[in-house]
Amino acid sequence: MNETLMLTILTIITAATPLVYAAIGELVVERSGVLNLGVEGMMLGGAVCSFAVAHHTGSATLAIVAGMLAGMLLALIFAFLTLSLQSSQVATGLALTIFGIGLSALLGQSLVGIAFEGLPRLHVPWLSELPVVGRLLFSHDALVYGSFAIVILVSWFLNRTRAGLVLRAVGDSHDAAHALGIKVIRVRYMATLFGGACAGLGGAYLSLVYTPMWVENMSAGRGWIALALVVFAVWQPGRLLLGAYLFGGISILQLHGQALGINVPSQLMSMLPYLTTILVLVLISRDRGRIRRNAPASIGQSFYPTT
């Protein structure tokens, strides 16, 4: 197999993985009826915290846990404001992003310019040594496998478990769910925290594997792209994986553009992921009926138990 092509595919996987994490988390959040626009902020929080922990302890595991915790902590602020204090989800999500950008820049002040060796790759005896397939499928770090596992888990959870059914019900109609005695606020807290953990993981992947170092504002809009991916996936986990890999592919085009003989200024190449996001949103959103059938009906609305 062509070495360039092989490298390209491996980079696509690295570029897609953080998107998968951030988007699958947001998907669960939105299925519970909550729109958290703060994914970008939570990713940055996760990125900086996990990098700091990796730098100080040298432990990849601790770093990943730290990234998740940081994302959850930020999500907790969001959940408290929107779920307990009834603030606007749109405004609070924006605030979370602004806060996350500022806080991560502040925390990361002393980490700029430090390099990290990246996550260890899992070595599967025999399988990893296979030609081509071994490198393509069995030479990744744990988080890559984790990203596939989490999509399958979420899909199973939503469609096959009672808790998943409850979560979908809350997203469909919080009033009806409340009337049945379902604890709407509790379900949404848990979904939001899960979303935070996933976004934090996505951020951790950026700073631990993708770059791997800490750069201010390093998520560069990936949190927002993750939000768009959820729409692209029409709230279905399976389609989300497809979308994330599509975007991963487009975003690494800029890196390999020169090598592939595309002679366009790098800035214009860098616009591609953002322009693609817009294009994809147009293609999906123009089918209003489809969006209305699939979007959680109570998304973005505050819930205050009146009875």
Binding site: A169, S173, A179, R292
Partner: protein, 536 residues
């Protein structure tokens, strides 16, 4: 008009009884022993309103007990306490003589209490099976699916467990709720205003089911403000007024009038049919009106024909979800039509015009939903007056609003229609349903429209306000306007309209003069059937 059907609410209500199957007659009282449930001294206060004031209630197995009262009498609050959705401020509940604390619906279900809500607590995007599983704290298993089919066939409530709820009719949705309750083998079944969304035929089917359930020993608490229904179905009644229990009665021996007197606290004045209007030229002309569905939630309108003349009130009956919303959108201009000719106002084709233009030319509408559609909840009455009347009442100068003229107009509405509020600065959301509806109807009537289209003018409104609204609408017609009234309330239509037709699955029936048809026949029209031998 000697043969005119509706002389008043009561006659119309009485006519309803003929719908009930003859075979059903009130049964002997079965529950002389210990009550299944006893509520004692239930009190619940909301800020600024005492919803339940020390109410007692006893329910017996095998009996159908009516909880009767006007909107706002405290019926819903009381049953929510019983079902664990609300905590009462004081009072006790005894279950088979034992004191119980019903902290949540789960506890209520554990005891054997099941409830069918007025607004169904269903999830549109989930299927029937999933909906039922959610309400029962069990998994959506094949076994459950089997039980659903069993119960639904046994009680004559056909259901397909795999259908998505959004594709079901209102009647089918109610079946889900009932089947869900029955699957839990309840001891007590609470039904909150179950017939308000059903056709007369569906109502009688429901009553057969309920009677059978009571015969099997179930206690049923039946909440309603429809007197005839209660006389037909129930063997005990508790009557609430303004949060207090005012009487216990045996509905089998009381007349509808005496029950109404207990419910309202005084004799209800019967509105006089004093309309002398002469019918004039055609003001509203609907020809071949079709409207496609945007998605599967919508009903497509197909080839509607309809004429309303000056001085005439024409009624459109129908069960909710048969295209009423779409018809209102098509007439008001919220959705423009394909063909300008499909809709004419005083001879001018206006089908391609928007809502603002149509209103300017004299077509005013009152949509069903008060808050969020007819009025903006977070704005004052002044601003809500400006909302639709700014052009016809010149409440602005060029691009600018005139606050003083809006206030003046709002004050005029408040005064003329006796709207109870803190004045024109009060927020729309602070008004009671009846008062807000008076304000909204008044706002359109005072604009002196040539044509008024009004949907559900008295939905969820107390009797006093309902009468005032009906009178105002008739007066408008007497002055030469054409009125089209869309309603699910047959009594309302029979009482106020000259001609009546029905909307079923997006199609309009032929229209008949009310003196030529009976309520049962309107029921047939609502079911999509045509009448033979009746002049259209």
């Amino acid at each position: 008009m000697p043969l005119r059907f509706g002389q008043g609410t009561l006659t119309a209500l009485q006519s309803f009884c003929s719908l009930m199957p003859e075979s059903i007659s009130p049964r002997a009282e079965t529950g002389n022993g210990k009550p299944l449930v006893e509520m004692r001294g239930i009190t619940k206060a909301y800020p600024g309103c005492l919803a339940n004031d020390s109410i007692d209630l006893q329910l017996h197995s095998g009996g159908v007990h009516a909880l009767l009262g006007e909107n706002g009498a405290g019926k819903s609050t009381l049953v929510k306490v019983l079902y664990g959705l609300l905590a009462s401020d004081s009072g006790e509940i005894y279950w088979q003589g034992e004191p119980v604390h019903i902290a949540s619906p789960a506890v209520a279900r554990e005891l054997g209490i099941a409830m069918v809500f007025q607004h169904f607590s269903l999830f549109d995007s989930l299927n029937v099976l999933e909906n039922i599983a959610l309400g029962m704290d069990v998994d959506a298993s094949d076994e459950l699916q089997q039980r659903i089919i069993e119960v639904s066939t046994r009680y004559g409530l056909p259901l397909d467990p795999t259908r998505s709820v959004y594709s079901l009719s209102v009647g089918e949705r109610q079946r889900i709720e009932i089947v869900r309750c029955l699957l839990q083998d309840p001891r007590l079944l609470i039904m909150d205003e179950p017939t308000s969304v059903l056709t007369p035929a569906e109502v009688s089917e429901l009553f057969v089911t309920l009677k059978r359930l009571a015969d099997e020993g179930l206690a049923i608490l039946y909440i309603s403000h429809k007197l005839e229904e209660i006389r037909q179905l129930c063997d005990e009644a508790t009557i609430l007024r303004l949060g207090r229990k005012v009487a216990e009665a045996d509905p089998r021996v009381e007349s509808a009038r005496s029950l109404a007197t207990l419910m309202m606290g005084s004799e209800i004045p019967v509105s006089q049919d004093s309309r002398q209007g002469t019918v004039g030229e055609v003001l509203l002309d609907v020809k071949d009106l079709s409207l496609s569905a945007v998605d599967s939630h919508d009903i497509a309108l197909r080839d509607l024909h309809l004429q309303v003349r000056a001085g005439e009130i024409v009624g459109i009956a129908g069960v909710a979800g048969n295209g009423q919303d779409e018809l209102m959108q098509a007439l008001s201009g919220e959705r423009r039509l394909q063909q300008a000719q499909s809709l004419s106002l005083c001879g001018e084709a206006i089908g391609r015009q928007g809502a603002g233009e149509r209103r300017r030319k004299g077509l005013c509408c009152v949509p069903e939903e008060r808050l969020g559609h007819a009025a903006v909840p977070t704005l004052s009455l002044s601003e809500n007056a400006f909302l639709t009347a700014h052009h016809r009442k010149s409440l602005g100068v060029a691009w600018f609003m005139s606050a003083s003229r809006s206030r003046q107009f709002a004050s005029e509405i408040i005064k003329r229609f006796n709207v109870q509020c803190h004045g024109p600065q009060a927020l729309a959301s602070s008004l009671s349903g009846g008062n807000l509806q008076k304000f909204i109807v008044g706002r359109e009537i005072l604009q002196a429209p040539r044509v008024l289209v009004v949907s559900q003018p008295t939905w969820g409104v107390d009797a006093g306000a309902a009468m005032a609204i009906h009178e105002a609408i008739r007066e408008l017609a007497d002055q030469g306007a054409a009125v089209l009234m869309v309603s699910q309330d047959l009594d309302e239509l029979m009482q106020n309209c000259e001609r009546i037709g029905a909307l079923c699955a997006g199609r309009l029936s032929a229209f008949h003069r009310v003196q030529d048809i009976t309520v049962q026949q309107v029921g047939l029209l609502m079911g999509g059937e045509e009448l033979n031998g009746v002049n259209a």
